[in-house]
Amino acid sequence: MTSAPADVPALEMRGVAKRFGATVALEAVDFILRPGDVHALLGENGAGKSTLVKILSGALRPDRGEMRLDGRPYHPADPLHGRRSGVSMIYQELNLAPHLTVEENVVLGTEVHAGGFLKRRDVRKRIKDTLDFLHHPEIALDIPVRRLSVGARQIVEICRAIMDKARILVMDEPTSSLTREDTERLFQVIGKLKTEGVSIIYISHFLEEVREVADAYTILRDGKNVGSGRMAGTTLDEIIQLMVGRTIADLFPRLEHERGEVALALNNLKGLRMAGPVNLELHRGEILGLAGLIGAGRTETLRTIFGLDARVDGLVEIEGIKALKVKPWHMISLGLGLLSEDRQGEGLALSRSLTDNITLSRLRPYRKFGFLSLKKRSQAALQWMGELKIKAQGSGQAVASLSGGNQQKAALARLLHQDADVLLLDEPTRGIDVLSKAQIYEWMSRLAGRGKGILFVSSYFPELLGVCDRIAVFFRGQVVDVRPAAAWSDESMMAAATTGRA
């Protein structure tokens, strides 16, 4: 494929508009992508990013507007057409069939065949070459994709895109479940693709990362393009301001809170899936951050504390009392609450209403002679929806139809309604918009002010540094060091998390 001269954009979208019923998703958006650029597409959830990208891929048709690829008109009829025209998507929900092998996934939809019978030899060679090019020759062609790590799966998707001779690659939140290490490797791959003249549209909520990898940016708000430009010379504050439409005075609001008695103590805790032993003390009125790479044992530690994974050895003490039966129902009665990292799979009952989700872990107040008072229950839910500013039509709305940020707030509302004294929060801000993030940070701080203890697992260092009182860094299932947040820096946390030495 020949690349167009530098002044012809790789992609030009003009006046693209789309509405769903009464909702305007996009209102005459312009978007211009230069060849070989990494172009960040930014905006809060619901700003219209996914709609724009779906139109580009051919999954949706625009109501109005024009698109050109390398100067030539482009009207994709469906995703396959888009793919064949050189536009490939790397989706947030990985776009792979878990039971199929790497090879089968890479060629899915574009199998080479003779009369319906597969021809595999040449294709296998090409896949191998492409994986070599991406510096991932260790990925074997014949293992089912479900056995690969998330990072490796992403490489498989990129491999598929390159094999399609993609000129434009759309990456939707590519790093949201990657470790820092895998993220670095992904950025190397992106650099490599740029040298080949591939243009990349990069959607992410991790703004620091975006600054690191992107050359240009476009910001959408309420279906409109509110700003485009080169990344160099633009500050994060300017970008955030454009995204939310007002200045967020402080992304990490800190309300006064004071450290009290020990609320939760782990003594030599070991679990079925966590190496350990882990020793930690969490005080009332304290936010204790758990940092580390994915797989370092932080999630597993929370799950062992809460009784979701079996405890092998050691003790969990709550308010100085040994927890004997470490089972979720028992831990809840002792005042523990867990917010799962897997919001959709485990954290929420997606098809059920906000009321059902928020009140599920404490139904006792609404029980009379064994029956539930539905009215009181939905009143309580409404109250928490107001407190957390959950945007919904009513307390009866199904959680599945809410945005990610509102879903997460609903999950947090459950812990608040439950009135947990110790909150175990696992990646509470993953994949949600900036405004919701700020609200969740504020609530964490407020809860600490009310004397609650919070264990906060995050893979995103800036938020740990911004929110926590103390931070413990994990390495291979053990705590490397615990220090006040002020005594850590991005670099020292990274060093501890990757080397195990403080």
């Binding site: 995703p79 998507m89 199929l100 089968e104 899915l108 939809g109 319906g116 019978f117």
Partner: protein, 322 residues
């Protein structure tokens, strides 16, 4: 590392046979029946008895790998057998009646597939509806009785002693073997087969990759229907009459065979070899139990246990690598 991977493949390949071997060893060591159980005549009889379920299981394997289910299989078999009998009785040439029977099955399957893709309802609901409709239509056509038909070569298809003796096995058994091989090739070596796995594994991903998921689904439901149609012809051949009340509940035997053979009801997994082994495990169990003179309810309990045991073993086997 590589050696371990190879070992794993060998184990995965052999595992389905273990159940079958276990059943064979069990009955051939029972003093009361061992002399008769492994005798050629008995094996031939088990093979012939398996044909009807096996043909249904071939199609069901496609459907289950594709993430669907077909509850109308048994009703479809009954309807096709009635149509075949009706055709022969009405004086059609037997070959035409047979084709008509098979085609009937295909139409039922096509309607299943078309409704599932058009109405976007879960296959369980659509095929449960079709289960009633096909059975009702069969009874309607047969006027709620059995349809007698003059004996023709069609009734030879399931004869335990086939007409040219060099065939050894009944023509229906040969047909089953050939079609099983063909379906296995279809699944493993064709683009269509791969798409069936992809749809069952992650339908959204398949669609985004440009797989025409609706078309593929209609095709595999239609194929499943055609297999049921053929199975219906065999049912007629065996009974020599078209009986609309035949094969009630057989769809569960067919599904059980696929599941025992490693098919996953959430899609993306399963194999023809596995399903065929599932069919024979159940057939030999029935046969062995009958020979032992054990009452019917014992067979039912044992088969129930086998289904649960086979599937839980399969899960353990899959969980290990991670």
């Amino acid at each position: 590392m590589r050696r371990r991977a190879k070992l794993q493949t060998v184990i995965n390949l052999l595992a389905p046979f273990l159940g079958l071997i276990l059943v064979l060893v069990l009955f051939s060591s029972m003093p009361d029946v061992q002399s008769r159980f492994l005798r050629v005549a008995n094996l031939k009889s088990v093979a012939t008895q398996s044909v009807i379920v096996a043909l249904g299981a071939l199609g069901m394997t496609l459907v289950i790998i594709g993430g669907g289910i077909d509850l109308s299989a048994a009703s479809n078999i009954a309807l096709s057998s009635v149509i075949t009998a009706y055709g022969i009785n009405a004086g059609l040439p037997p070959l035409l009646a047979v084709l008509l029977g098979i085609l009937t099955g295909g139409v039922v399957g096509f309607v299943n597939g078309a409704l599932i893709t058009r109405l976007r309802l879960v296959p369980f609901i659509i095929t449960m509806g079709m289960m009633g409709i096909a059975r009702g239509v069969a009874k309607w056509i047969a006027n709620n009785q059995k349809i007698d038909a003059p004996l023709t070569w069609v009734n030879e298809l399931m004869a335990k002693s086939p007409h040219p003796p060099w065939l050894i096995l009944a023509p229906g058994v040969w047909l089953m073997i050939v079609l099983a091989a063909a379906t296995a090739v279809l699944l493993r070596y064709t683009v269509f087969g791969r798409h069936v796995f992809a749809i069952g594994s992650n339908e959204a991903a398949a669609r985004l990759c440009g797989v025409r998921t609706n078309r593929a689904k209609i095709i595999f439901y239609t194929l499943a229907g055609l297999f049921c149609g053929l199975s219906g012809v065999m049912e007629f051949s065996r009974l020599t009459v078209g009986d609309p009340t035949v094969a009630v509940g057989l769809e569960l035997d067919i599904i059980a065979a696929v599941v025992i053979g490693g098919g996953s009801l959430s899609g993306g997994e399963g194999s023809i070899l596995g399903s065929m082994i599932g069919v024979f495990i159940m057939a030999f169990l029935r046969n062995g139990c009958t020979m032992m003179g054990w009452p019917n309810y014992i067979q039912e309990i044992i088969i129930g246990v086998i289904i649960v045991a086979a599937v839980s073993l399969d899960q353990v086997r899959h969980r290990r690598p991670t």
